[in-house]
Amino acid sequence: MDIEKYIASGILELYVAGALSPEENLEVQHYAIEYPKIQQEIEAIEAALLEVTEKMSPGLSESTYNQIIAEIDDVIPFTPEVRKKKTLWTNYAGWAAALLFAIGMVWMYVGNQNLKTELQISSQQAENLKDEIIRVRTQITNTEETLKRLREKSISLVNLDGQDIAPESYAKVFWDQSRQMVVIDALGLPNPPVGYAYQVWSLMLNPLTPTSLGLLSDFEENEKRLFELENPNASEAFGITLEPAGGSKSPTLEQLYTLGQVSP
């Protein structure tokens, strides 16, 4: 590199004027660091410019600097470093706020959805509880009615004892002759096997004539094991047999679980 030629080109005068492109500026700086002669030349050019501009000054009064300081101190105190950071911070503050706002919105939305779901669940639970209360109340009413009916004077009780196939089993028949109804208390019977059901029979003993009163249907679902059946017969005894689901025309005596005679 021909330093003399570079200096003579006039690029350094333009550099001091600030009239170069950023790329040319960098080039000059690079050479100024590399070649002290270029640095010296730059300083000499600047000195000439300082000389000219100083001569052009009308002269400053002593108070000028104090007025500058007064104005600076009147401004919010700061250090330039902090100010730089502050500027940076304010540049991003808008975006940060927008981002926070967006996150907040999503968070609120999710929160709101969760609350809605919870509310739905809660109201569903309330509905269920209401249903439960109605169901329990109905059960209580039914039970009370049953109890009231069983205590009526016209009711006669027939105890059915366990037979050979199930000696431990038992049943009770509450017979309301006036209303021609029986209530079978089947609490002492085991659950019937799948595909089978208990069938209740009204019996005449001489000669032995069974008449079906019906099935103890939905045995397991009936928690109280109380079954109401019509009985228009002049029964002398009652028996309960295990029959294939749907019932039989005549009782399967081998599967006679309980049997009891109406007391005369």
Binding site: G10, L14, Y15, A19, E46, L50, T53, P58, E71, E81
Partner: protein
Amino acid sequence: MDLDALVRQFQKGDKTAFKDLYDRYAENICGVIHTIIKNRERSEELCQDVFVKIWENSASYDPSKGRFFTWILNIARNAAIDELRSKTHKNQKKNLQIHSLVDMIGEMDAIEDKPEAIGVKSLLKGLKEKCLLLIDLLYFRGYTQKEAAEELKAPVGTIKTRIRSCILQIRKNMKG
């Protein structure tokens, strides 16, 4: 303290360094402003404003982009040109195309007895109007080399060699 260290201290918010820089450059800055706006009182006010700006914007000075004086020179001439524009806006009759330095020298010719005028005249002795015009555009108006070339209808290469010889003449005059 050398200039680079002084500028670094100033950029850290050191007021003593700021005062040193003020002492070093205040007359130059005021001279630039005065040359452009040609109003003694107003140029002193503007000079104050410029130093407040220099202090407030200290963080924006990037040494990799040029000399410190080039940076404050730019702030000063922008402030002065803004002032000139707002004034011209108020009083349309005034002509903005006048060339400050050429004018200034012309004015000084008229009031030759002023000591400062004598100083300037000896400093700019032997400089042709071409030179004064070019110094004005590049140093006092902030024209880029390309803009100056367009303004003076000359190639960029010519602009560069011409400003070189103009400044060299001033340097010669400085040595007396």
